[in-house]
Symmetry: C2
Subunit: 276 residues, 2 copies
């Protein structure tokens, strides 16, 4: 049976590319306008999984995804890392000097600012809701004054020309996506666990919570604070831990957290993705 995967964005968007990388080509992608919509599609049962960006190596955590993980009672069953490389995409026959308007998602435009300042200083930068959708739009407009910034896959999908590849300023540009579902299967091979902790609010309570991992040499690869809604200036913490739920030491650490009266919610235990 073909798996149905909900994503934010259009075909050939980075979410789509990440979904192909994780699941392979034999999937049905359900394109959504927002992250929340992609979670709702899983809630309704119209998709088995959602794949959702959670962090970019330059911009940091995507808070909306963290907050959706609290709101929906889903489970993270996997992750995938994607190198984000942007291309300048045009109609066939377009030259650099023809371009007067560059369309893309605002984050993609920001990532290519140096290239645009150097090679297209006068061209207007115009924001669009999705990188791949901006390619579709310039194809439909058939105007050589227009260019789009998107993945090279988007150029292929819409049969347009890549004028220049790798135009992003910083090459250390990676996005981590998580795969979430409603009904997970326990993964025996899991080597990474994501969780939320809520400490009591005494001085040193976060320090003591981290201690249950440190004293067992369990590495925390990510720690992210988020506000508790309705309780101003109080926080929960998201942790990514380099061990799976099969690990006895991790279970011991969790038991120590409970002794500290630290609330704990496991978001998922899964195979870590390849970072390159």
């Amino acid at each position: 049976m073909i798996k149905k995967i909900a994503i934010q964005g259009e075909k050939a968007s980075f979410h789509d590319i990440a979904a192909q990388k994780y699941f392979g080509p034999n999937i049905e992608i359900i394109c959504c306008e927002t992250f929340k919509d992609s979670f709702n599609i899983v809630e309704s049962g119209d998709a088995e999984y959602a794949l959702c960006a959670i962090e970019n190596s330059l911009f940091g955590s995507i808070n909306e995804t963290y907050d959706l993980l609290v709101k929906f009672n889903f489970v993270i069953v996997g992750e995938v890392f994607l190198r984000i490389s942007q291309s300048l995409i045009v109609l066939p026959g377009t030259k650099l000097q023809d371009i007067k308007e560059v369309y893309s998602h605002p984050v993609a435009i920001a990532q290519c600012e140096d290239f645009l300042d150097k090679h297209l200083p006068i061209a207007k930068r115009l924001e669009y809701y999705d990188t791949a959708a901006s390619v579709e739009m310039i194809r439909n407009r058939k105007d050589k004054k227009n260019a789009a910034i998107a993945s090279s896959s988007a150029a292929k999908l819409y049969d347009l020309k890549i004028l220049k590849e790798g135009i992003e300023t910083n090459k250390q540009n990676y996005t981590r996506f998580v795969v979430i579902t409603k009904k997970p299967i326990f993964n025996e091979a899991a080597n990474k666990t994501s969780l939320i902790i809520r400490t009591n609010n005494n001085p040193g309570s976060l320090y003591r919570a981290l201690g249950v991992f440190a004293e067992r040499s369990i590495n925390i690869s990510k720690l992210q604070s988020r506000p508790i809604i309705g309780k101003a200036w109080h926080y929960i913490f998201y942790l990514d831990i380099d061990k799976g739920l099969n690990d006895k030491e991790l279970i011991d650490a969790f038991n120590d957290l409970k002794v500290q009266k630290c609330e704990l919610k496991i978001l998922g235990s899964y195979l870590s993705g390849n970072k390159t």
Copy 2:
């Protein structure tokens, strides 16, 4: 001499109200389009201070401000907390049923979603770059179909009518602003310190860094991770500490951090603001 304060946003925006609350009425506000512009105005010397939102109790940290604090070599000299309350603002004589379009900053619109869904389910929500500027715009348009969401001060400034006050969904809505400058004066009475730490990347290094504070019962009121640009999946941590730089124990803790080869950058030591 009248102090010049750079802010993002227009007169009667929440940044403006926060600046009046911190400095009093005898100031000159320099309105900027972006947070970065407000920092640049201080850099150029055209304003002595910038006042900039750094965290909201519902939305969490404002990453752009954290990143600007790293980029510019400025010092935090104060903070101010503001309760964010939104009003539905209209032309005199407008009734709820007249309203077809509601303008505001997207965050303000999101904060009032429940009110809009209940009382104005069909009205279009239209995004504008600033809450107060949306009030000025509907005043200039003179069309009773238009409403704006902004502070009650914005209604007074533009002599419009408040149809309903306190329309935000969650009343636990506070924003913390920091006051930054180029040439600080050391504040003997400071009781709060903001800093950045960069640990070596070994397991438990953050735990050990937090230990220098915990073992002295020094409270950390905020911990925020941000990515290191160009070094994917490595982080720096922002800390707010409930002690000033006059405190000998805090200096001892900093010395212990240096022994741990933990890099340390002090962003400022200042009087903590009143949270209500």
